[in-house]
């Protein structure tokens, strides 16, 4: 039975107001509490480690929600999920973790997702992180996503961490085979003393494989962010990395994009920018009647949208 707090956390991370429409698995405080499989989308517990297997049949269309919520302090939850999207399936997968830490101890969730997108399949994957607390206890989230995109498959990843997470170390690894496509959007906001590290490695393995990695972040307060997006072409693939950060207050942002080609037909581009909010942007919005704070908020909200 979901409490009001559970429902609020689910709304924050997965936009769920009720039971999800498709297949789902809700994990709370280290245990699966609700689950529904459907024909063509089977969700089952792993035998030898914490976590689930999600098996989507070939050609299946639908949605799968696998959110995690944590409501206890002094809790360290580690989970391994494997998601296997069958050939030519078309799936929306919503993950994410919401932490409400009621105490002064640490609440930590480490989630490892291994996702296989089989030939010709399409995956839209969103993962949103959110943290809040009452007594100063740390909220820590360390997600790792390992993605294999087979021939002609498409994966779109939206990775969002907007507020309340004290420390995060995100790892995203992807291998893209011939004709496969990956689009990844990462959005991150840190404030106070929060720290975030994002390591991304995308390997373009063969011809017509493409990847687009877009990272947008805002660093406020004394927070620290580090981005290490790496795009490697072993075949004649095409890729683009774009890291863009707004830096404010006494924050620190380090962005180290890398492109690497081992094939003369590869085309790789990277762009990285770090800068404050431009004065002209603030003045434009203030000339419409917004206060400086409202203008700043509007700029950040648009930037991270």
């Amino acid at each position: 039975m979901l409490t009001a707090l559970d429902k609020r956390l689910l709304e924050e991370i997965a936009d769920l107001h009720d039971e999800p429409p498709g297949a789902f698995n809700i994990r709370k405080d280290g245990k699966g509490i609700q689950r529904r499989s459907l024909e063509g989308i089977e969700i089952k517990s792993k035998d030898n480690q914490p976590g689930i297997d999600v098996i989507v049949a070939a050609g299946k269309e639908g949605s799968v929600h696998i959110p995690v919520i944590m409501t206890e302090t002094d809790l360290n939850d580690l989970v391994y999920n494997t998601i296997d999207i069958g050939e030519n399936a078309d799936i929306e997968l919503v993950a994410g973790c919401g932490i409400h830490n009621p105490g002064s101890g640490k609440a930590q969730h480490d989630g490892v997702h291994e996702i296989i997108v089989r030939k010709g399949a399409r995956l839209r994957y969103s993962e949103k992180h959110f943290g809040e607390g009452e007594d100063g206890g740390k909220r820590v989230l360390n997600p790792k996503t390992v993605l294999k995109i087979e021939e002609g498959a498409y994966a779109e990843l939206e990775l969002i961490q907007i507020r309340g997470v004290d420390n995060t170390n995100r790892v995203t690894e992807a291998e893209v085979k011939a004709g496969g496509r990956l689009v990844m959007f990462e959005r991150l906001l840190t404030d106070g003393d929060q720290e975030a590290v994002s390591d991304v490695v995308v390997k373009l393995l063969a011809e017509e494989s493409t990847a687009r990695i877009v990272s947008r972040s805002v660093a406020k307060g004394k927070s620290k962010q580090v981005f290490n997006p790496r795009l490697l072409a072993y075949g004649p693939g095409r890729g683009h990395v774009e890291c863009d950060s707004i830096i404010m207050d006494q924050a620190t942002v380090r962005s180290v994009p890398e492109i690497w080609a081992e094939n003369a037909e590869a085309e790789l581009v990277h762009e990285a920018a770090i800068g404050k909010i431009a004065g002209e942007q603030l003045m434009k919005l203030m000339s419409l009647g917004l206060t400086e704070e409202e203008a700043e908020e509007a700029i950040i909200s648009g930037f991270l949208k």
Binding site: E280, G289, A298, G302, L304, K305
Partner: protein, 248 residues
């Protein structure tokens, strides 16, 4: 009535204090359209920025009707009904056109997204476009003008609305500025375009950081041309449209 009373402005650039405006006295009446014109660097945009509160004047006062708004910031002036379409509108990553129009309408009883149609952009095509480098300079400029139309302020200042806009759109732009002008609105257009100068009630010539002439078109036009020729002889840098007859 919108009044700039004995305005002076100095700006610090590279640790040097540069005089920009001096003794600027201007009164703009409701229901009338004005053009500010003059050579590059003469101070036209600075006058507009002082009016909007982007620059605080070093001397003088700004009045909206009888209220002294000199010490009000940009936001407060906007809420009281002063609006400004930037000469070079800034770009915003991620912010959509409809967001910007929404902000414009937040503190006014302005129009809706249909203002895009007025300046020749289809709302269905443009309202969800982002205000970033995917839009051309001309599109940005037209959206900037639409934003001021959406804001619908009592005092509206267009800073070189023609800049970067193609000829076809320019005709439409003139129409929309004229048609949206109302009896209770003061419209001030910074421009060098003869067609814009022809549509206003009064022209103000700014030279060397101050008002050198003002009057209706018939009175002031010959004097502007004369002034331009004078400036030509001094090898001044001149505006292409207004001073087209000058020897190069």
């Amino acid at each position: 009535m919108f009044t700039l009373d004995n305005i002076s402005l100095k700006l610090e650039v590279d640790e040097k204090v540069i005089p920009i405006l001096h003794d600027v006295n201007l009164q703009f009446e409701a229901g009338k359209m004005y053009a500010l014109t003059g050579p590059n660097g003469s101070g036209k945009s600075s006058v507009a920025r002082v009016a909007m509160g982007i620059y605080q004047p070093t001397g003088g006062k700004v009045f909206l009707d009888d209220e002294d708004i000199t010490n009000l910031g940009i936001s407060e002036r906007a809420r009281k009904g002063v609006g400004y379409a930037f000469q070079q509108p800034p770009r915003f990553k991620g912010m959509q056109v409809k967001d910007m129009l929404g902000y414009a309408m937040k503190y006014s009883d302005g129009f809706n997204c249909q203002v895009l149609r007025q300046i020749g952009l289809c709302p269905d095509d443009y309202s969800e476009r982002t205000l970033d480098s995917s839009l051309s300079g001309g599109e940005m400029k037209r959206i900037e003008i639409a934003t001021l139309l959406a804001q619908n302020p009592r005092v509206r200042i267009f800073d070189e609305p023609e800049a970067g806009i193609d000829l076809w759109s320019f005709e439409q732009l003139i129409d929309v500025i004229g048609e949206s002008h109302r009896e209770d609105t003061t419209t001030i257009v910074i421009s060098h375009q003869e067609k814009i100068l022809n549509m206003v009630d009064e022209i103000v010539l700014i030279e060397g950081g101050t008002v050198s002439m003002r009057g209706d078109r018939e009175t002031i036009w010959p004097r502007i041309k004369e002034s331009a020729e004078c400036a030509c002889k001094k090898n001044c840098r001149l505006e292409e449209n207004l001073y087209a007859d000058c020897p190069r």
